[in-house]
Symmetry: C2
Amino acid sequence: MHKQPIFFLGFGGVGRALLKQILDARELHRSRNGLKLDVLGIADSAGALVSEKPLTDAALRKALQTKIDTGRLPDKAATNANLRTTIAALPKNAIIVDTSASAAAVPALIQAKRRGCGVVLANKIPLAGDLAWWDAIADERARWETTCGSAMPVISTLTTLLDSGDAVHRIEGTLSGTLGYVCSQLEAGVKFGDAVRDAKMRGYTEPDPRQDLGGLDVARKALILARMLGYRLEMKNVKVESLYPKLMDKLSVEDFMRDVDSLNGPMAERVAELTTDGHKLRYAAVIENGKLKAGFVGADPNSKLGLSRTSDSVVVFHTRYFTDNPLTISGRGAGQEVTASGVLGDVVNLSRSMAG
Amino acid sequence: MHKQPIFFLGFGGVGRALLKQILDARELHRSRNGLKLDVLGIADSAGALVSEKPLTDAALRKALQTKIDTGRLPDKAATNANLRTTIAALPKNAIIVDTSASAAAVPALIQAKRRGCGVVLANKIPLAGDLAWWDAIADERARWETTCGSAMPVISTLTTLLDSGDAVHRIEGTLSGTLGYVCSQLEAGVKFGDAVRDAKMRGYTEPDPRQDLGGLDVARKALILARMLGYRLEMKNVKVESLYPKLMDKLSVEDFMRDVDSLNGPMAERVAELTTDGHKLRYAAVIENGKLKAGFVGADPNSKLGLSRTSDSVVVFHTRYFTDNPLTISGRGAGQEVTASGVLGDVVNLSRSMAG
């Protein structure tokens, strides 16, 4: 039985789903992988729960319930834990699992990597920020499958393509469920303002829809894939098409939602221009020849992007060996439970690899 | 620099493409993976080339050329090498790479596994044969990505789904390029006999097309996927639909090709029955609830199989977390170079995992 110590950074929806899945998979991991995942602690922006010995399943279940009930972690004393001291005390074979969505995790991640610990990230920010962060974190003892399409095997596939010496010429990916939905509405003739209101009402957008409509999330994914290809690029190198003009950033959410209809006309023109000759409207990350783009594309209806359903996330790899039939991965590309399952897959994979 | 000893079983089209790719990727593996693949030997049914020290790149290039020119391996003495003795002398951290397509490799593979060596298989037979072979070979020190769809990430994806505790409810895969082509022709109204002759003429079939049309290759792939799901099944448990009646097995290839038109009528009826209401004709492996099938399906035109192009191989995973948007992988599912690249990806991945 291999005991794998792990430590949680972040305890939001994905972190909690992950902990539940770990507890539910105890017997599976024992019988299938000869593995026991020992949770040594949890830290998020609202507190911490840290222990020298592995936390018991009862203590973990209690932490889950307390977090749900109170929004905080249970151990009062531990809320003051100094994260730096905590990381310094972790065993060197521990895996830090970052399911937060903030740059605040970066110093802890870098400290853990320097100690020799493994790192699993659902958090895109450490990999899409400074190149120095990338260099410090993204090595063979790190996994980040869920940063570019939830549990879909995008990162592992690209890693294998690169390891095998295949040459990746072009990657295209529709990597935002929210923008996929907006595209399907626009294509169906719905006005932009109505599409945005509808998506917000259904809970498909962030509370401030501009966080999705600005394209930054897709741009971050493009940057992560490009860096894996070896391009030493920063966010400023990604050409991002925002679905609203920059000056609307100053508005409150309410004012933005009221004024969004002013964009109906220009958006309808842009959509018409992209969808001539039966072309399909997609919002995609495109990486080719060191050029990165996040924006609308008019996809040939017989291409992999054009044939895909807008409710799916799709990533297409055009390579030396995958030419006329590019390697394509599609499926559900967002959701807390599916993302947590992808993180758990990463933890098991990295643990196996670190154990040798 | 990690030196990874490897030994080739099989030196046909895939094996030779693999060796060329290894030689071409020397610099990539050094800089990207800190890895040097040391080929200690090659053995196939027409001879061997074995060395105690890693073969030089010059010797390997000469072996490639000699094999192409003469159909044999160069070292006359080595052709008599006893494979058992050779395997027994390999370092315990060696990886055996089986690109043959025969059961003859099985004793060597099992011997190597018992020694603790790693194994990478493009050869389906050891994994689709006796369960005892499966039990001896298919562990964490084995990789077999290319057995079910060439370099498409089918096996690694299923491994991750299982490691993560996701529940795989159903797998469907169109895993034969040959039968995909035949389906596209039948769907277009081409007579069965004409479709078979055409596929044979284009080189899409084995010299004896019955090897494709019988469905055995697809059935083997279904069995491998089912065994990964934990089902203790044998080939006799797979319900296989052959595209020709069993009594035609007695015919010579020439007689079969002459008599194949006698199947046009019944086949046209079967196709009409499957393609009512716009359904699409596919030949698929289907695994669900421990039931295995290789045969025609009439795929809903809006399903992942129905939306796919017949020239693509497609695998669809319906799971607990991938429900309305099942996880789908598609692309080029056959070809010696692309398969070799998948084998090389496996070798690098396994080497990294064994090195810890």
